[in-house]
Subunit: 269 residues, 2 copies
Amino acid sequence: MRIATLGPEGTFSHEAALKYDGKADLAFVNTIRDVFDMVSKGKAGLGIVPIENSIAGTVGQTLDFLMQFCLKIKAEEVLPINHYLVGFGAIGDIRHIYIHPQTFEQCELFIKKNMPKAEMIQTSSNGKSAEMLSKSKDKSKAAIIPKIAVDFYKLKVLKKDVQDNRFNVTRFFAISKDDAKKTGYDRTSIAVYPQVDRPGLLHEMLGHFAKNGINLTKIESRPSKGKLGDYIFYIDFQGHKSEKNVADALKKLEESAFVTLLGSYPRKY
Amino acid sequence: MRIATLGPEGTFSHEAALKYDGKADLAFVNTIRDVFDMVSKGKAGLGIVPIENSIAGTVGQTLDFLMQFCLKIKAEEVLPINHYLVGFGAIGDIRHIYIHPQTFEQCELFIKKNMPKAEMIQTSSNGKSAEMLSKSKDKSKAAIIPKIAVDFYKLKVLKKDVQDNRFNVTRFFAISKDDAKKTGYDRTSIAVYPQVDRPGLLHEMLGHFAKNGINLTKIESRPSKGKLGDYIFYIDFQGHKSEKNVADALKKLEESAFVTLLGSYPRKY
């Protein structure tokens, strides 16, 4: 199967795609919108996109595109995020670091402590950081990249695990034209756009889940593009859309809100 | 008063700082962590940091640093986000665009339609995009930047309002060692870390707000750094911590969760 994901080779998205299907035919594209576009137009059967990182939070674009493109979540994957400092000289020689801005956020303390005078050269992806360093061969240059990029570009590791937080994971969605069948250990994601605004409405809406014994695993309000303070709620909960208690909760929810089913898929945590 | 904000000159953070206090002595720093650091160490009396954008969503770092640095939210500011295409030649001449990755996200459709072959040169801030373009004077180069950067660097506008969504605003927090006194039209932000995990807990917690007639304006779950699926809830609601119904709701909430008060401050929307 053809899978679209964020490129070039050596990104965490690349790693997530391989984790989902090690034998897939991978198509590397530049933006999250491009991944959705490929799947929507049938140029790829599946797309891999990041949805949240434990440090940086939710990837807003992915949530918005799920609504816009009418695609479904077919699976989730969770990757530990470990960063590697690579280069050609010693750490003391480093003057310039190729680095993706999100990677910088995740390694800021390490860099400030160990290479306070190094200049950051911002790149558009972790794969790009590795590619640019591998072309330079200069001892004053380094990069901070994932293991998959270290291996792909055969770079020399100066220090492993340079991320500031020991716990750093990214959750990815596999998106497709259809979601997944019930396995008995599933999660469902929905978007809820309330049709009224009054104190207690969210409490009332969540009551439909509580009454049906459904455990929520994530909730997030996002401005609905209309005005600030007018929100869409993204909610993840345990269970599959084909189960009776889930169907009952969704039916009650629809009495006071527009509800979009983003997909039911097997749980990975 | 000295105010720390994200630099260099010409960023939306610069504009938000001027909106808060047009006569302030501004200190421009490189990262959100640096803003918190300046205020925490008393090197600035106030800091301006982005908290959410209507397209990109919440700035996770700002939420996390509010917890880590024990600073308070003293005010909010809401800025409309309009992007300007600037350069020295015609749109048809453009081959390279200096652009911040978030600005690219917000103008991706415009760029793909009008300059599909242009190469993106990623920068670390909108102010930097303007600075780099202003040094080049090359007709094949352009930048997409805020109005404040157009004015500061006296650049030529090729097209106004090139952002893809008509509605695009960013909300900023002014952070300080203390929050604000009651005005009668206030908002309060809290972080809630539940001490148990069972279906219906969030519903139960929100019930304390509903019973006290308090309107929630934002809710977001973020992984608590411990493990994925173990969440902290960030909640904004209408009212001031000194009001009786707010104090009552918070007291009930504390029976099943650790609650951190991030600040009470005047509402701007």
